[in-house]
Structures are given as structure tokens and as C-alpha cells.
Amino acid sequence: MNSCRFKDRINAYQLGLCSDEERRELARHLKHCPVCQKELALLKMIERELSEPSTIGAIEDRILLHLRELREPTLTLIDLAAALLYCGLFITGGLLILPIIIHLPFHQLGNLLSTLILNNITILFGIGIIFGIASSIYSLRLVGEY
């Protein structure tokens, strides 16, 4: 005999998904049904096989080497080109906004601001370059770290 009406319930029985009554009934049934005993043995065998972990050799050194290579800080021409682009955009943006500021109804504030800017254009230009280089390198490092 290769079939039994309880056979398909052995899976649930082993997982503890049966009601107490069904569990007791199946436990009694298992004592004398070779079909269900075989089914339970098979499920336990599958469980043992799947519980056995697979092993892999030593990979630690290879991974550490990769990590060191990826974390090596490098400044490339691309970094410098990006920095100059950031600076250019920053300064261009600032110069475009300047006429808008001067022509605001609060023209006295605008005049004061424009005077300050024009008198200190060199300082502002320098700050713009430094800020541009710093922000481009920082953003490229974040991307590079991935």
C-alpha cells in the first residue's frame, strides 16, 4: 500500500500546524501506518539536509584586499574638472542673481549689497572656488565609496 488519507497531513503535523485533536489522532495513526511513517522519515531527512550548512574556504584576505583598493583616496582629473565646473556654476549663478538684487524695491539694501560685493569681489571669488572644490570632492567621494 502506497497511499494513506493522512499522508498529506504529515507535513502540517511536523510543523505544528494541526489542532491538538488532529495532532493526537495523527500521533496514534503514525504508530501503525508504514506509509505515514515513511513520509515522516522523508520530511525529517529533508530537514536534516537543509539544516546542514555549506562550507566555503578562506575568502577573508581577498575581501580585505578589495576593500583597501576601493577605499584608496585618489584625486583624478575628473575630480578637478568637476570642481571647476561647480565653481563656474556657483559664480555664474551668483552673478546672474546680482542684478535682480540691485533692482529690488529695497534698492538701498540692494545698493549696499552690490557695493559690498563689488568691493570684495576677489574675496568672494576665492570663497566660491574653495567652496566649489570642497563640495565637488566631497560629493565624488560619497559616490566613489559605493
Partner: protein, 174 residues
């Protein structure tokens, strides 16, 4: 914080000995998941290495060191899913486990049956039987609500059992 939590904290600071120790502790887990999901030792080894590289480049984003195991399991899961997506038109390679002995035949039969299941079923079965995973962790990694996990597991086992139809006598005699 347990020993592993301390190792994670040191790894975040760039301590290579802590990183090496974490790899040694978790490489079995990562490799087992990759091998069960992909069926090929070479692919599994590549995925395992990639998992750790990605994990340690991003480790500063891990806010709770005690969750390192679930976190790294999610990384390997995502890499496996990407790998399967890229290779979806390819047949999986024949299962290889090494030089032939009788007990290897059992592993090959079960692995081949696993590969015929959906990736969710494979992942669920692998995590459930890997020692130490709580139902909560399995739920986090698979996206299945913890309350429904046993039912999903029951169905996954039933499908695996169906894939093994015809091999019962051979499996029990080995």
C-alpha cells in the same frame, strides 16, 4: 552589546581584524543561502564575496549592530535576485557538489528540487532550516508577515515534497 555587536562597532571604525572575524563568522550563512538559491558553487562564491564587499563599504549606515545578520542576509538576497534577473533566460547550470559519493547524490537530488521552486520558497526554506534564525528575522528578510510564516513554510515544503516525487525510495535508502 554582544561579541558580534562589538565586532560590528569596530568594523565601522575600519578595524580589519574585526572585519575578518565577521567574515569568518558569517561566510557560511551567506554562502549557504547563495548556493541553495543558485545551485552553482562558483556563482555562490562570487555572490558571497560581493556581499561582504558591499556590506563593509556601507557598514556605517547600519544603525543597530545587533541586526547585522538580518542586514547582511538582505544584502545577499538582493544580489541573488539581481543575478537571477540578469540570467533569467539562462537555464541554471547542472548542480555540482564535488566528487561523487552516495551522500552527495542525496544533496544533488534535493538541490535540483529546490531550484525548481520559486525564489521565495527557496529563500524561506533555506532561512528556516539555517540554525539561529528567528521567525521575526525570516519575516524581515522575506517580507512575509511573521504570523503567516508557518503557513507559507508549510506550502513551500509541500511544493518541495512534490518536486521529490519518485525519489522517495532512493533518498531514504542512501
Amino acid at each position: 552589546m554582544g561579541e558580534n555587536g562589538e565586532l560590528v562597532r569596530r568594523a565601522k571604525d575600519g578595524d580589519e581584524r574585526a572585519i575578518a572575524r565577521l567574515i569568518a563568522i558569517y561566510k557560511g550563512l551567506v554562502y549557504t543561502i547563495a548556493l541553495r538559491m543558485l545551485g552553482d558553487p562558483d556563482w555562490a562564491e562570487d555572490i558571497t564575496q560581493e556581499t561582504f564587499i558591499r556590506a563593509f563599504l556601507r557598514i556605517k549606515t547600519l544603525k543597530h549592530p545587533e541586526r547585522f545578520r538580518s542586514w547582511i542576509t538582505m544584502i545577499v538576497r538582493n544580489l541573488i535576485y539581481d543575478h537571477l534577473r540578469k540570467r533569467k533566460t539562462e537555464l541554471p547550470p547542472p548542480v555540482r557538489t564535488g566528487p561523487g559519493v552516495e551522500s552527495v547524490r542525496k544533496k544533488v537530488i534535493i538541490q535540483q528540487a529546490l531550484l525548481r521552486l520559486s525564489k521565495q520558497d527557496r529563500l524561506l526554506l533555506t532561512l528556516f532550516y539555517y540554525q539561529g534564525f528567528t521567525m521575526k528575522e525570516i519575516g524581515e528578510v522575506t517580507g512575509i508577515p511573521s504570523a503567516n510564516l508557518r503557513v507559507y513554510l508549510h506550502r513551500a515544503r509541500a511544493r518541495l515534497r512534490e518536486e521529490l516525487r519518485g525519489y522517495e525510495d532512493e533518498l531514504l535508502s542512501i
